[in-house]
Amino acid sequence: MRAPPMTTTTAHRLSELNVLESEAIHIIREVVAEFERPVLLFSGGKDSVVVLHLAAKAFWPGKIPIDLLHVDTGHNFPEVLEFRDKTVAAHGVRLTVAKVEDYISDGRLAERADGTRNPLQTLPLLDAIAAGRHDAVFGGARRDEDKARAKERILSLRDEFGQWDPRNQRPELWNLYNGRHTVGQHVRAFPISNWTELNVWRYIEREQIELPPLYYAHEREVYRRDNMWRAVSPVSPPRADETVETRTVRYRTVGDMSCTGAVDSLAASVTDVVREVGVSTITERGATRADDRISEAAMEDRKKEGYF
């Protein structure tokens, strides 16, 4: 592993990134120490890649003592899945994949009218948590992503239905995390809660963390829908009235092809992206996620139902 620059602005003062890094490592170690069967939700998206990197640091020189779980909507970008498998192999961790497709083909879930499958992930996720008897589930969610997530705890208790009750959350005091839970309950743990999108990119730059290539500018066949560039693919075909064109784009978030939009960008390197994110006037979810535009409370509603 590359030596991290332990830069301090003055003697005995940690820089912002180093404070956030140490905070995240502390959270990861706390959860691994206090829980029996922790699992990390790993999609190959930048936030989960950063959490995995932090977990590797937390347990160095040992292997990461956490299993990985991915809920595959069946609409994931192929290059992201390829990256996911390569990363899992490199870290020597075990990955379980829960497939939305399986649920649709045997009728446990029905395809939505709008074709988007992100909301369908909740049931396979909860089943996989139950099947793996996981009592703690790490996620890469950040509080700056959304107004509902701004009220999320670092350790967030869920009932057996995976529900989040925002009005009845445990107070989070000092850096003392309370992981006590009863049978059937589990805890969601968000080690990078306090990171912003820019922090994440600065960290990726500093630590030279590899990401799926679609985070960087590339040429792609796209069409305009809901003020976003949507990729042409078998699961997200253009309608008759939508014009396909080839543009230089990149993705700020990586999710389901059916609801994730690309943005016009020439940012081909991590340094370019840091620069772009630093001056952006649009939030990453506002820019690229159709599923969060359904209503102002879209994320809150999905979180209450057990979404991550």
Binding site: M1, L14, H26, D146, R180, I282, T283
Partner: protein, 475 residues
């Protein structure tokens, strides 16, 4: 009030938050009509932390509700009220965290609602804060709730307190009226001991959150005020971890051990290096206070062992020195019996272990505290059974005086005697903010019942009392 969405505001020169600056955490508190949400919205907006799509959504909702009449005004409160119920009822329910940055530093803001479960929210925000901004209405001055909030801030020893005297525009920027409020603020903070116990400072600023006076920029309408704007103050106050003038940590070194790293062959390092890590053993944790160097002598509790630091690891990087709040792994010269829950400390700085203590409890659960309650307590990385043997009083939050009480209800702050099931090196919160703080947890359902701060450790456990025996609780 009219705001235009200025997409040209951010230029390449505005790229902030290089990641190498400092991170400053602060909380906001105030009564329901003091304009706190407006102040937070103003701070975020004027420091350009609100992005165009967020502003667009808020503007749309503001217009739908007729806020600001024909002026196209924006209800800033909509920016922080994240939950559907909050937006529908126009109230803030839970602590919300906001992030923004200026070229000077990055900020984490804990926005604490003042009316529902205010103690719970204040305590949550204040325990991690470098500073608390207390909002008061210039027309009303110091209210009972202001005193209560300031009492919580004083007890939790928040390093910096900023009292923002809001709605100064409604007093026509009258200096005499402001000075009167300021004087009463100074009187109350002195009475409650805020900033007078050597742990912090108090700043008073006249502001108008609605108009923007002294929030980001100094206002021309308050020429009689020569202090900094709110944001200028936030950019210059020192960060929480105690330092002396030379930048050295002033609290003694404490490392609560989270886990022991012993990969025993299951290593992530390159295969050719694997052999050299076969017998690797290190104690992982986040430095709670102070600093440590390779070669330093340390003591360990429980057990009372002593050893020398042979290495400080940070994910493959050898450090010569580590300090709070770094997450590290410590290697020692001797093979001591150290497990999760142990504390590694600078030699001869830990107090003797004890099984009793006196504490202030911030009671946060709707179920009242029954005397004799059996609970769990979490100190650092130690979780153990405990008994709240006695409630000795309740604090009158308007004066911080003690009144008699035998039980505590939600939002009460009380004094209690606690018996521990195991030996613990107990430290006063006034001496060490990290090791003197603890959680009180319900033994069955796991709810966080109270935040506790140690006011006095009990008698040291006698030698031969069976140190280390007792019931460790597995999580």
């Amino acid at each position: 009030m009219t705001l235009t969405i200025d997409t040209q505001a951010n230029t390449a020169d505005d790229i902030v938050a290089t990641g190498e600056g400092t991170l400053f955490r602060f909380a906001t508190a105030g009564s329901v009509d003091d304009g706190k949400s407006t102040l937070v919205g103003r701070l975020l907006h004027d420091s350009k932390a609100i992005l165009a799509d967020q502003l667009e959504a808020v503007t749309r909702t503001s217009n739908e509700r007729g806020f600001g009449g024909d002026s196209g005004g924006i209800d800033f409160a909509l920016l922080t009220d994240g939950l559907r119920a909050e937006r529908e009822q126009g109230i803030t329910i839970d602590v919300a965290y906001r992030y923004f940055a200026t070229p000077a530093r990055s900020f984490i803001l804990a926005d604490c609602p003042g009316h529902v479960q205010y103690t719970r929210n204040m305590v949550t925000g204040a325990t991690t804060a470098d500073a608390v901004i207390m909002l008061i209405d210039a027309r009303k001055g110091v209210l009972e709730q202001t005193r209560r909030h300031l009492s919580v801030v004083a007890l939790l020893r928040v390093p910096h307190v900023i009292v923002a005297v809001n709605k100064i525009d409604l007093l026509d920027y009258d200096e005499a009226a402001y000075r009167e409020v300021e004087a009463s603020v100074r009187l109350v903070t002195a009475e409650l001991g805020v900033g007078s116990l050597g742990f912090g400072d108090v700043h008073v600023i006249p502001v108008s959150a609605l108009v923007g006076d002294n929030v980001v920029d100094r206002s021309e309408r308050t020429p009689w005020y020569d202090g900094p704007s709110l944001l200028e103050l936030l950019e210059t106050l020192t960060v929480i971890d105690d330092r002396d003038a030379s930048g050295r940590a002033t609290e003694a070194f404490r490392l609560p051990v989270q886990l022991v790293l012993r990969p025993q062959g299951a290593v992530s390092v390159a295969p050719e290096l694997a052999d050299s890590y076969r017998d690797y053993r290190a104690y992982a944790g986040q430095v709670a206070s102070g600093s440590i160097k390779v070669g330093d002598t340390v003591s360990v509790e429980p057990g009372g062992g002593t050893s020398t630091v042979t290495g400080i690891d940070f994910a493959g990087v050898d450090l010569d020195e580590a300090f709070a709040p770094q997450s590290i792994a410590l290697r020692l010269a001797d093979d001591l019996d150290i497990a999760r829950g142990a504390v590694i400390a600078a030699v001869d700085t830990l107090p003797p272990v004890t099984r009793t203590l006196e504490a202030d409890l911030f009671w946060l659960d709707p179920r009242p505290l029954a005397p004799g309650a059996r609970v769990l307590v979490k100190f650092g990385t130690t979780l153990m059974q405990a008994l709240i043997s006695d409630v000795t009083g309740r604090l009158d939050l308007t004066t911080l005086g003690v009144e008699p009480a035998t039980t505590l209800a939600v939002n009460d702050i009380g004094q209690a005697s606690i018996r521990l099931s195991r030996d613990l090196p107990v430290e006063r919160y006034a001496q060490n903010r990290r090791s003197g703080a603890f959680l009180v947890i319900h033994p069955q359902d796991g709810a966080t019942l109270a935040a506790g701060i140690v006011t006095a450790p009990g008698e040291p456990t006698r030698a031969g009392d069976g140190s280390g025996a007792g019931s460790e609780v597995s999580p």
